[in-house]
Symmetry: none
Subunit: 110 residues, 4 copies
DNA sequence: GCTCAAAAGTGCAGCC
DNA sequence: GGCTGCACTTTTGAGC
């Protein structure tokens, strides 16, 4: 059974087939452009993400500089996040039980 | 209603001491405001960060929807990142050499 | 996949090249035996672990066969685990605050 | 104050009802016992599983303490596992062929 | 530098 | 049988 090899969308010369078996629905050049576009978008976002992460670190550093214990601060953040998550979880549980009881919860019907 | 949060300030407010052993350099109330400010800033940033992360996932999903193998795509991103990191590393080494030679690299303007 | 540059050979032993560049501080044969021993122990444990995992799956399957909704069942397990974790967490928080207050919790006084 | 745990049984009538809408084919009390039994079995197994996992971590730690690079060690384990899986796969294919030829492979005793 | 915890990535099981 | 969501593993980053 075949598996791994097909994934590389490898630029094998498929130019001459009526229909390509490759995972992209287009000619190679176009697919490449498409790929490049995705790569750029992702890299751009990753960059932004890193900026944010660095900002967060800066805030912790600033807090520390103001005499706060970062470990405690992190715990505070973590706890508040947990609370939020738990709230969501509660709704999920409710939905689950409603489903189990045959009473569909949401499914925004209508 | 406060729940877990209340524990956070539980330690505080246990009377005035000539000198506080608390890690904050201010009166409790003020420190609390300060703390709150830090917490809010961090949470805001964490939220933004999550938005970006979700965006990234969306892009991967879109790429997948366009026939790209996300695993390969991730590999591409990863490799390019490594390359970039190595490039930076090279520049850092160059800077070190320049410094060692007394030629400050100053700021690397494009 | 690992590329050649990875740290496979990296690590200890830098500097001495008369004998070996390998990361182990012993003669090859002995180190190999040692390595083999670790590999075997790990593989044995992994095997046991898999057995347990399969057992768990079996129990879920059996529960399902008895009319239980496995999704709900999993949720029940998950919730109970969360409760246990939270209990631990509470102790951790307490310790943290005690530390922050300069009251080391470390001593286990009765 | 309700704790999270209480929600679990919240849905079920803590008393005895003559009739149930629940997906279990038995009276509530009995189903509850049954459920409890499953929960306990699973939790017991999960516990064992965690013990094994911790043991594995310990072995890796010990290996590290003996100068082995855990990353490499993990790679070794992983590769060997792959090999084993592939071997199994080969046998499975062989079995298929044997079956196709009307020669049941029966049980593969080690 | 090592250890530990959070985040990401991968694989798997259940569902449509 | 493809897909979505979940659990496990791995990796990265922070703290001591």
């Amino acid at each position: 059974m075949l598996t791994a090899k097909s994934k590389l969308e490898g630029g094998a010369g498929n130019g001459r087939r009526e229909k390509t078996e490759f995972p992209m629905s287009d000619v190679n050049g176009v697919a490449q452009d498409h790929l490049r576009s995705f790569v750029e978008r992702i890299e751009r976002l990753e960059e932004e993400k890193k900026t944010i992460s660095d900002d967060i670190k800066d805030v912790y550093a600033e807090a520390k500089g103001n005499g706060f214990d970062t470990k405690v601060l992190r715990k505070v953040i973590s706890l508040r996040k947990q609370d939020a998550d738990e709230r969501q979880e509660q709704e999920a549980i409710l939905d689950l039980y409603l489903q189990a009881l045959g009473m569909a919860p949401s499914m925004s019907e209508g």
